[in-house]
């Protein structure tokens, strides 16, 4: 029995494949180590929602959280771990494959209504 090759959508990391978490990971991949405020302002979410998603990414081992001080002000810094960077790379590759497949096999045009 021949097995159909798995569709690339199955390769999309479920942890990253959420709007907020994807934005967080993409920003960390581009900016390096980033503070809470920049992340919050750029992702445009509330403090609590950002914390929730960062916790999910941290629990998965994708994000490293460092608490410290900038001058006398307490700061929290976020960065991607090696695993997070690797998974994000794989995620982008899978996205590229999906979009490549869609471009190669465009959806069939909708049936013309009768009499149209």
């Amino acid at each position: 029995m021949n097995e159909e090759p798995a569709h690339p959508r199955h390769e999309l990391d479920e942890i990253i494949h959420s709007p907020v978490r994807l934005s967080i990971v993409a920003i960390l991949a581009a900016a390096g180590e980033t503070d809470f405020k920049f992340l919050k302002d750029t992702v445009e979410v509330s403090d609590s929602l950002l914390s929730k998603h960062v916790s999910t990414l941290e629990a998965a081992g994708y994000v490293k959280v460092v608490k410290g001080y900038t001058g006398k002000r307490p700061s929290t810094w976020y960065s991607l771990t090696d695993l997070g960077r690797q998974r994000f790379g794989q995620y982008k590759e899978a996205l590229g494959r999906i979009l490549g497949d869609e471009a190669a096999d465009p959806p069939a045009p909708a049936a013309r209504p009768p009499g149209g």
């Binding site: 994807l22 934005s23 920003i27 581009a30 900016a31 980033t34 001058g71 979009l99």
Partner: protein, 145 residues
């Protein structure tokens, strides 16, 4: 502000989010690079102006010395604003900005002393290169992070 965290995400929307994040970070980086280049150019122009004023006999050594310190006051003022408003960039970029900012302030002292001793626009422009150089180097470093 987004409160719906678990909405479905199409591949094109996901790609759009990644591109948007890249654009936002690049825009923030450009702002840092641009501000460092602007500070370097303004410093060169300021030193040329100082040399010109001194040559024209508009200022003597004491006011000239005070004028040389104006950029230090301006930079401390800008850094003060910066501390109250957390920077919109990565930690590495902030570290580059802070390091080259400190080098700039230190470099202003010999440049200022030499400008006071050689009151002429052309040497003053060359003296201006001393503090302007860390700004341009900082901009180059920030652009290549």
């Amino acid at each position: 502000m987004n409160t719906n965290s678990e909405e479905s995400l199409e591949p094109t929307a996901a790609t759009g989010r990644i591109e948007r994040a890249d654009r936002q970070v690049a825009s923030s980086r450009r702002w840092h690079v641009g501000s460092m280049i602007a500070l370097g150019c303004v410093t060169l122009a300021y030193f040329a102006l100082l040399g010109g004023l001194a040559q024209a006999g508009r200022t003597s050594i004491v006011p000239n010395t005070i004028l040389v310190l104006v950029p230090v006051v301006v930079v401390y003022f800008l850094l003060g604003i910066r501390r109250r408003h957390p920077p919109a960039a990565g930690r590495e970029l902030q570290a580059v900005e802070r390091t080259f900012g400190n080098v700039y302030i230190v470099a202003l002292l010999p440049a200022g002393i030499l400008t006071v001793l050689l009151p002429h626009p052309i040497p003053a422009v060359f003296m201006g290169i001393i503090p302007a150089l860390p700004c341009f180097l900082g901009a180059w470093r920030a652009a290549h992070l």
